[in-house]
Symmetry: C2
Subunit: 119 residues, 2 copies
DNA sequence: AGGGTAGATTGACGTTCGTCGATACAGGAG
DNA sequence: CTCCTGTATCGACGAACGTCAATCTACCCT
C-alpha cells in the first residue's frame, strides 16, 4: 500500500464490495494513559504477585505482615519483598511499619481504576 | 526464624502487646488460578497491546482490520502482528479472515472475567 | 549496650519480552 | 498463471524480569 496516513484501505473510496478498515479512530486512551494502565496491569502479570495481592486483600483493613506472606507464596523472603515493592510502586498496596513488622494493605481505589479500564 | 510452617510470629505466643500476623489463610485463588489470571493480565501489560485492544474494542461488532492498527500503533507491521497474536492467544480477541484482510474482534466475556477478578 | 529477628537492599544468573528486518504465506487483480 | 498487496512467521538483538544467596538496616527485648 502506498498512501496510508490516517485512513488506509478501500472504504467508500476504492473498494466496491468489501469495505475494509472502518474508521476506528476513536482511541479510548492516548499513549501516556496506555502506559499508565499498562504499568498497573504489569504489576498483576505475575502469579506470585497476584497471590500476594489476594492474601493482602483477604486480610481487609488490618492488613498482613510480611511474615505471613513468605510461607504461602513459596518463594524466598527477598523475592517476596521484591514483589511487594513492585505492588507498592504500582500503587496497589501500601506498607506500614508497626514495630518490628511491616504490614501491607490494599489500595481499593487503585484496583478499581484498573477494573474500570476493562469496561 | 526457626519453626515457621503456617503461622509465624508472636500472636498469642510471645508477643505481649502487638499481635502480628493475622490468620490470613483464606487465599482467594490457588496457584493454578493465579497463573491463569496472570497470563491474562500479562497480555494487558503493554501500552501497545492496550492501545490495540482499545482500537479493536472501539470498533464494536464489525471489528478492525490490521491495516488500520499498524498506523496508530506506531510500530512496524510484524510487531503489531506479534502483539495481536499475544492478545489472541490470551483469548482477549479473535481473528477472522475476510478476503485479503484480517479482522479482529474483542471477546467481551474474557475481558469481563479479568475485570471480575479485581473485585 | 548487646543479642536477636523482621524486612529491605545488593549482586548475579538465566529466562522472557519487545522490537525490527527479512522472508514466507495467503488471496485478489490483471 | 503471474504480479501485487496484506498478514503471519522467523531470526536476532538489547532490555527487562524473576529468582535466590548474601548482606545490611531497623527495631524490640533483656
Amino acid at each position: 500500500m502506498a498512501p496510508r496516513t490516517s485512513r488506509s484501505a478501500p472504504a467508500g473510496a476504492s473498494a466496491p464490495g468489501v469495505a475494509c478498515c472502518a474508521p476506528v479512530g476513536s482511541a479510548a486512551f492516548d499513549e501516556s494513559a496506555a502506559a499508565e494502565l499498562a504499568g498497573g496491569f504489569q504489576a498483576l502479570a505475575d502469579p506470585v504477585r497476584l497471590h500476594l495481592l489476594s492474601l493482602i486483600a483477604a486480610a481487609g483493613a488490618p492488613g498482613v505482615c510480611v511474615c505471613d506472606l513468605v510461607g504461602p507464596s513459596g518463594r524466598s523472603q527477598p523475592t517476596v519483598s521484591h514483589h511487594l515493592r513492585i505492588l507498592r510502586d504500582a500503587g496497589l498496596v501500601i506498607s506500614e511499619r508497626r514495630g518490628t513488622w511491616a504490614w501491607y494493605t490494599v489500595v481499593p481505589d487503585r484496583i478499581a481504576a484498573l477494573r474500570s479500564a476493562l469496561a
